[in-house]
């Protein structure tokens, strides 16, 4: 009898052992598959960028000679010659122009969107629902419909070939996405502190400036970063509004250098491409937390 129980237990143990092992094996296979997929996808995501950086240091004869990214004979000729451009200006000028477009646009966006989001999230007034609906509608409205009349409006104002068409709409909370994102953030912040400050006699703009803005800082950083990226990448806006080369941002300058030199001087184009994505890349790596939070908040809570 005791023997019988013992063998039965042994059999049970063995069975349990077998099940556990099978489970562990399945887990290992599963994990291997997942890491495998992620690594392959990661390679497709990053290798083009790595190749781009490597190829920008290659001499022209080498660029299409192999799939590797390490140059046999590294050279900075592409950077030196590309920087000079075929215009009277260097890329330094085009980076400066980009800076002149981005910074005022960012400041205007942050100030106007904060005020508007505060208005939406903390006050009740007639027409609020309709106005908020209009915000969502603008979010979905394709720019392509309004672009032509906007161009005509800016032409009549005499703003063509200036940075004003690129700055001004943003300073009037024109980027609905940011207002929407900030409203979502504000709704998640409790009002206790603001109400306490109001009881103590602070007026609403003091509350906004000294209580809401500090609480909102991470979200405002997200707004700045996204606006920075989008404006750096923007091509169609400058293409339509700017006609003098001395006002070109880097996106237009890059297109110009493709048109003038691409037939033979590949490494110049690649070198300048690398330089134009560098600011965005550096900012992203320094502050990626804010990007992920911003995009998640705008999307998920919506």
């Amino acid at each position: 009898m005791a023997d019988h129980i013992l063998t039965q237990n042994l059999a049970l143990d063995q069975e349990a052992d077998r099940v556990l092992k099978a489970q562990r094996r399945r887990q290992i296979i599963g994990a291997t598959l997942r890491y495998g997929v992620l690594t392959v996808v990661g390679l497709f995501m990053l290798y083009p960028l790595i190749w781009l950086v490597g190829a920008s240091f290659k001499p022209n004869s080498e660029i299409f000679a192999g799939a590797g990214f390490i140059p046999d004979e590294a050279t900075v000729a592409g950077y030196v010659q590309g920087w000079q451009t075929s215009t009277p200006y260097t890329f330094g000028r085009f980076f400066w122009n980009t800076f002149l477009i981005v910074v005022p646009k960012m400041i205007g966006t942050v100030i106007s969107c904060t005020a508007v989001a505060y208005g939406f999230a903390r006050f009740d007034f007639p027409g609020k629902k309709i106005l908020f609906a209009s915000l969502i509608a603008t979010l979905l409205l394709p720019n392509v419909v309004t672009r032509i009349p906007q161009y005509l409006l800016f032409r009549d104002l005499g703003w063509l070939d200036t940075f004003l068409p690129l700055w001004v709409p943003s300073a009037f909370a024109g980027d609905a996405f940011f207002v929407f994102m900030l409203v979502q953030f504000l709704r998640a912040i409790p009002r206790d502190m603001e109400e306490a400050a109001r009881v103590d006699g602070a007026n609403t703009w003091q509350v906004l400036l000294f209580i809401v803005v500090p609480l909102l800082t991470p979200a405002l950083i997200s707004v700045c970063l996204f606006q920075f990226m989008w404006t750096m990448n923007d091509f169609l806006g400058p293409l339509i509004y700017l006609s003098s080369v001395d006002k070109f941002p880097v996106s237009l300058a890059l297109k110009l250098s493709i048109d003038t030199t691409e037939a033979f001087e590949w490494n110049r184009i690649l070198a300048m491409s690398v330089l134009t994505i560098m600011p965005a890349l550096i900012v992203f790596f320094v502050a990626q937390k804010y990007f992920i939070e911003g995009i998640s908040a705008g999307g998920v809570k919506g």
């Binding site: 994990a31 997942r34 890491y35 992620l38 979905l140 419909v145 990448n233 990626q288 999307g299």
Partner: protein, 294 residues
């Protein structure tokens, strides 16, 4: 406080209200009017009734081609991108090591993807002697004519969009991570398998995010410009001549503002109808937990 609050609320909203009127509502109405006119910037717009639309739908073969190409582009790019983004987000949602590394690696292309530099890079990668064809050669596959062949060119542009699946993925991942773990435990106690759990618990809970991504990606895809403009200039044989390119060239190269506005309105109506269909259908497939949305 309430009377006070009314004025203050409108005060804080004033930049938005002015901007809405001047830079959105007015141009929107003007665009509609211009689409019924002949306007070449030299003289005042001349009202021509339905002429522009008549010409678009009866005589303009470029428009028909461009419209077709745009629809093919959107209806391939958006579903593929969303499906892939969700697939990768689900994998990342397992408790893996290096998740932050992978998330960053997958997100970087979305940050840079819209730029001219990346479009330039795409031209080099997919050139006849570029590294994509070199990679295919090592697998024994004949080099592909990515840009020269009308059937491939649109696909090459689509790939550039798919490469930027990261932003949609980040949104999916955040949604997956916010799902209450006790739901999975309950399902597992009830003996639900992995697939059943995903289909009956995960999917319903992330439908709001699928819906959000669907709308945003669709609106963006309909307005794609940089990729085809830089990579293929709309060619070969107009096979990548998306409507935004056509609108741009009519308006700012040929200065035919009235005709360009009419094309823009057709594009707008298509986007609006599809968005409304999505919103209308959403009540049947989008699930809001607790339904407490304001």
């Amino acid at each position: 406080m309430s009377g006070d609050s009314r004025i203050l609320g409108l005060f804080y909203l004033s930049p938005y209200i002015i901007g809405l009127l001047v830079f959105t509502a007015l141009p929107f109405a003007a665009s509609f009017y211009l689409s019924f006119t002949d306007y070449n910037l030299m003289s005042a717009p001349v009202f021509t009734g339905l002429d522009n639309y008549w010409k678009l739908f009866t005589g303009d073969r470029t428009f028909r081609k461009s419209l077709w190409v745009t629809l093919v582009y959107v209806f391939t790019t958006v579903p593929l991108k969303l499906a892939f983004a969700l697939f990768i987000a689900v994998i990342l949602n397992y408790k893996l090591k290096f998740i932050n590394f992978f998330r960053t690696a997958f997100y970087v292309p979305s940050i840079l993807g819209g730029s001219i530099a990346i479009a330039v890079m795409w031209r080099y990668l997919f050139a006849d002697v570029g590294i994509v064809n070199m990679g295919l050669a090592t697998l024994g596959i004949e080099p592909v004519n990515w840009f020269g062949d009308p059937t491939n060119a649109l696909f090459t542009i689509t790939l550039l969009r798919l490469w930027q699946f990261g932003s949609a993925m980040v949104i999916f991942l955040a949604a997956l991570q916010s799902i209450d773990k006790s739901l999975y435990e309950a399902a597992s106690i009830d003996g639900a398998g992995k697939f059943a759990t995903f289909w009956h618990i995960t999917m319903p809970l992330i439908t709001p995010v699928i819906f959000f991504n669907l709308i945003m990606q669709m609106v963006q895809a309909f307005q794609e410009f940089n990729g085809p403009y830089i990579i293929t200039q709309g060619g070969p044989l107009k096979s990548t001549y998306l409507l935004p390119l056509y609108i741009y060239e009519e308006a700012f190269k040929r200065f035919d503002m009235g005709y360009a506005s009419a094309i823009a309105w057709v594009l707008f109506v298509i986007i609006m109808v599809l968005t409304l269909i999505a919103f209308w259908s959403s009540r049947h497939w989008v699930y809001y937990a607790g339904d407490k949305r304001s």
